[in-house]
């Protein structure tokens, strides 16, 4: 199927002729672009006073949602923080680009997005963001303002969910893009440690400084 045809498919979904369910990430981006192209049309729609008490009913549903499932709110907060951090990464674009690498994760029938935000144990600042896209089977690692102290190297670690000991994912590379294959899943913990040049001499992190786990965001 050509790019144009895919884009017309997206336009059909934006018009409401086809369901939005089952969109992959590219399909969603293309449809949202059409949403915005058509949006000026909605300006011509006459406003109609909504039923009395509607705001109260909506707020009651928000309360119910928050009480029953605080994680919904937590996820919204986390997505926001993630965006702020990505802004930080973009500000330090040269650093981020220099260290970006890809990790393959198992592709999945149900595309979902997961992130791991690996934060400093000392002050909670983000050190590294890993975005997992199970649709494409790729994860992007974005170091955020990470610099190793003089004479030390930064080493990445993974503690698979349920495992007792972490294993090394190697040193953060100096090369712009690097591909490595790993298995990853929900509940895995990622960490960064300070190590001697060349990596940990023991095979275990000697001075771990940053931790974070994978959370599903959509």
């Amino acid at each position: 199927m050509s790019d144009v045809e895919r884009d017309i498919d997206a336009a059909e979904r934006a018009l409401g002729l086809e369901p939005l369910r089952g969109e992959d990430r590219e399909g969603r981006a293309a449809r949202e672009a059409w949403d915005l192209r058509f949006a000026p049309l909605l300006d011509a729609v006459e406003p109609v006073a909504p039923p009395d008490g509607l705001l109260g009913r909506i707020e009651a549903r928000i309360e119910a949602l928050t009480d029953k499932d605080g994680t919904v709110v937590e996820l919204a907060r986390m997505r926001r923080r993630l965006r702020l951090w990505k802004g930080t990464a973009a500000a330090a674009a040269s650093v981020a680009a220099a260290l970006a690498l890809w990790i393959a994760v198992p592709a999945n029938d149900m595309p979902a997005r997961y992130v791991a935000v690996v934060t400093s144990d000392a002050d909670g600042t983000a050190g590294m963001i890993i975005e997992f896209d199970t649709g494409s089977g790729l994860a992007t690692v974005i170091p955020v303002g990470l610099t190793a102290p003089e004479g030390r190297a930064l080493e990445m670690w993974q503690l698979p969910n349920g495992a007792e000991r972490p294993h090394s994912l190697g040193l953060l590379p100096d090369t712009p893009v690097e591909r490595r294959t790993i298995q990853a899943g929900p509940g895995d913990v990622f960490a960064i440690s300070f190590e001697p040049p060349g990596g940990s001499p023991t095979g275990q992190p000697t001075d771990p400084r940053f931790h974070g786990t994978i959370v599903q965001v959509e």
């Binding site: 144009v4 884009d7 017309i8 336009a11 059909e12 018009l15 409401g16 002729l17 949403d35 915005l36 192209r37 058509f38 949006a39 000026p40 049309l41 909605l42 300006d43 011509a44 729609v45 006459e46 406003p47 109609v48 006073a49 909504p50 039923p51 509607l54 705001l55 909506i58 549903r61 928000i62 709110v73 919204a76 907060r77 997505r79 926001r80 923080r81 965006r83 702020l84 935000v117 934060t119 400093s120 144990d121 000392a122 002050d123 909670g124 600042t125 983000a126 670690w157 972490p166 913990v189 960490a191 440690s193 275990q204 992190p205 000697t206 771990p208 400084r209 931790h211 786990t213 959370v215």
Partner: protein, 216 residues
């Protein structure tokens, strides 16, 4: 660079006690202050809603609910269904405000699209009886608004109106009926007395012309 000597976690013998996310209370205070200054700026209000600011959410409701109910009602054609769709739309706005990106379009457009897409979703799931849209005659709610009458008047709006005018009249009418009234291909097939596949072909050609015109 942090210098703390905490070693809890991956290398330690005791179990990792979960991720430590930063506490962003200063950030949220900052947003709350921005709201009082922002007044009726929907873009800024949505930024505050993304930080779970309920006062900002109520203000967004006050500023947009009549427009969004109008959008929902045209598609749902039933006050109760339109209200249900609008309730879910505002829950979406509450939960997904962090997805709004002012660089891509104005906040009013974003909330309008949320309301429209939710109304379409609710109507499709309820499986509205198809004939109703065709046999009810032209009530006020079933008339197609004239995009040229919109007050937006921005460059994007003018381009869209001009490009829609370049379509063949019946195709333009179909696009607007699908967009404003949520009509399906089957609805359009009945109205224009043509097979569903023909409607599909006409609409795809129309959308392709529209795409070419808007990219010019």
């Amino acid at each position: 660079m942090p210098t703390g000597a905490t070693t809890t976690g991956v290398g330690a013998t005791k179990p990792f006690d979960g991720p430590r996310f930063p506490i962003d209370s200063t950030m949220r205070r900052g947003d709350a202050a921005a709201v009082t200054e922002a007044d009726d700026d929907i873009d800024a209000l949505l930024g505050a809603v993304a930080s779970q600011d309920r006062a900002a959410f109520r203000r967004v409701y006050e500023l947009t609910s009549a427009k969004l109910f109008g959008i929902s009602l045209r598609i749902c054609r039933d006050r109760d269904i339109a209200e249900e769709a609008l309730q879910i739309a505002f829950l979406d706005i509450w939960r997904q405000a962090d997805r709004f990106d002012p660089a891509r379009g104005p906040g009013m457009a974003w909330v309008s699209v949320v309301a429209r897409n939710r109304a379409i979703d609710v109507v499709r799931r309820r499986g509205r009886e198809r004939n109703r849209s065709v046999d009810d005659g032209e009530t006020a709610l079933q008339s197609v608004p004239d995009p040229r009458q919109a007050t937006d008047g921005g460059v994007d709006h003018m381009a869209l109106v001009a490009c829609l005018d370049e379509l063949e009249e019946h195709v333009r009418d179909m696009v607007l009926r699908a967009y404003y009234l949520g009509e399906t291909r089957e609805d359009l097939a009945a109205r224009f007395d043509a097979p569903v596949n023909t409607i599909k072909t006409w609409l795809r050609r129309g959308l392709q012309s529209l795409r070419g015109c808007l990219d010019r």
